[in-house]
């Protein structure tokens, strides 16, 4: 029995663990990865003040702090199921069963692929896989790669690969189909990139500051729908080409690209081959909500948050007593927002377990989440605020109807 159990040791889970421990709770953190940090591990980018955001170092610092506060960790441990029994949450793992009255789901996000013929060949990997291989394990994903899918995440990772000396032949689109209808349409891809860059407090400009300002945005402006593409960090970006096939006998040998019209239609006869020994698929991220679904949490589909998210309050509570959520399970945002949410969740768990006098602190932490969001280096969806408001409104509606119901029954 632990006062608090946290599933996921990314920025949200670690910060929540530290917060719980600071308030005297004994905490167990479970993660199926080998070490602490989650998606934070692979992150590496230059911040507006010129310093580098080093995910490996941030992860290590959070982990060391948690350990010094007595937080227990079970790594390489997958959670198979959770359920509520006798007012306690039961967490089933391959290494045993654990119990708590305060359970936090901080399981993060998974990548949603854009499929391309040949994408099961060894050498094809998600763009996040290439990031982890390069920055965490320090093994090059290959000699020369092609990234399929042009978005904030893939641009960031392309820069990281470039930094590590991995050659990227190009970033380009997937061929449009029923699945990749937005990702394969040049106008829509450009719109979404410009939308992000046009915002008054442009995250794309702030992110990677100098590099992006000089290369990426300028080129987008100058070469509207550029037929020849443009370069960013010496990497060609092709919005008017699409990969129609990944080829190779037993492993990736290259891709076939074709010219596409502004609406994504392939120009017949324009096919050409690009040699590569690895290919990255970049279709974006979606909240990984499996455990919340098993627990019976209500969901709402909020596109601005990246998909279906569990209903939750600003204090990161779900409608199920003792079940909390934080980080990308609540919507796709950067690691700093996730960490800020983790602090709120940790305080909410401490309050739920009976610790008094945390009201001011939790209110402050909720303000910090907003502030962090407003000044975020990276933003994956331009309308994130809209999504956040939507889920909070749904929470209020559910609370009102619950109160009405109780009044009626009372």
């Amino acid at each position: 029995m632990f006062k608090a159990i946290i599933i996921g040791s990314g920025p949200a889970g670690l910060t929540a663990a530290i917060t719980c421990a600071e308030n005297g709770l004994d905490v167990l953190v479970i993660d199926e990865y080998m070490s602490a940090g989650g998606r934070l591990l692979g992150q590496l980018y230059e911040q507006p003040d010129g310093s580098w955001w080093n995910g490996l170092r941030e992860s290590k610092n959070l982990y060391t702090t948690a350990i010094s506060l007595g937080v227990k960790f079970h790594f390489n441990t997958s959670v198979n199921n959770i359920e509520k029994r006798n007012n306690r949450w039961v967490v089933y793992t391959e290494k045993g069963t654990f119990y708590t009255e305060n359970l936090l789901l901080a399981t993060g996000a998974a990548e949603s692929p854009v499929p391309v013929p040949g994408w099961t060949l060894p050498g094809v990997m998600s763009v996040g896989a290439a990031q982890v291989m390069t920055n965490v394990h320090r093994v090059k994903p290959g000699k020369r790669g092609v990234i399929i899918g042009v978005n904030v995440l893939s641009s960031v990772i392309a820069m990281e690969l470039h930094l590590a000396g991995v050659e990227i032949a190009c970033l380009t689109l997937p061929k449009m189909n029923s699945i990749a209808n937005k990702e394969g349409n040049p106008s829509q891809v450009l719109d979404s990139l410009l939308h992000v860059s046009h915002m008054a407090t442009s995250p794309l400009i702030r992110y990677g500051s100098k590099l992006l300002k000089n290369d990426f945005i300028k080129n987008l402006g100058i070469h509207f729908y550029p037929k020849k593409g443009f370069k960013m960090w010496n990497t060609p970006i092709q919005l008017r080409k699409a990969v129609i096939e990944i080829y190779g006998k037993d492993e990736v040998e290259g891709v076939v690209v074709a010219a596409i019209k502004a609406n994504g239609e392939v120009v017949p006869g324009s096919e050409e081959r690009i040699q590569a020994d690895f290919v990255c698929i970049a279709g974006g991220l979606y909240p990984l909500v499996e455990l919340a679904a098993l627990a019976g949490c209500p969901f709402f589909l909020v596109e601005e948050l990246g998909g279906h998210v569990p209903l939750h309050s600003e204090k990161m509570e779900t409608p199920l007593e003792g079940l909390f959520v934080a980080g990308n399970i609540t919507g796709i945002e950067g690691a700093k927002v996730a960490a800020a949410q983790g602090r709120t969740a940790g305080l909410a768990m401490a309050i739920h377990s009976g610790i008094k006098g945390l009201d001011t602190e939790i209110r402050h932490s909720m303000d910090m989440v907003k502030q962090t969001r407003e000044s975020a280096d990276i933003q994956f969806h331009p309308e994130i605020e809209v999504g956040r408001k939507r889920i909070l409104r749904e929470w209020e509606i559910s609370q009102t109807s619950k109160q009405n119901h109780e009044a009626l029954m009372g």
Binding site: N81, F299, H308
Partner: protein, 91 residues
């Protein structure tokens, strides 16, 4: 290789053609599409292809929009469990 034989569910090797033609023929929801084709029912539990299966159902206009529910049900265990461990858990 053409798009029709392109694999969507990597675990069960269900193709794009199979999914699109099933969705067209039965005008079915994402969940029915999964049950009919086995897409998303393999080793990974649908974590990799879930969003793609949902998009196919949506693009055919055959997925009843379930705004307040996740359209593809999640069932335990969400990670494969060995028989040895299964025995331990039930004790």
């Amino acid at each position: 290789m053409n798009e029709n034989v392109m694999i969507i569910c990597r675990c069960e090797e269900v193709t794009y053609h199979e999914l699109v033609s099933t969705a067209t023929k039965y005008k079915c929801s994402a969940r029915e599409l999964k049950l009919r084709t086995r897409a998303g029912m393999g080793y990974c539990g649908g974590r990799t292809c879930r969003t793609m299966v949902e998009k196919i159902a949506q693009s055919m206009g055959t997925n009843t929009p379930t705004e307040t529910n996740i359209s593809l049900k999640v069932q335990p265990p969400i990670r494969p469990v060995s028989f040895e461990n299964l025995g331990r858990i039930s004790k």
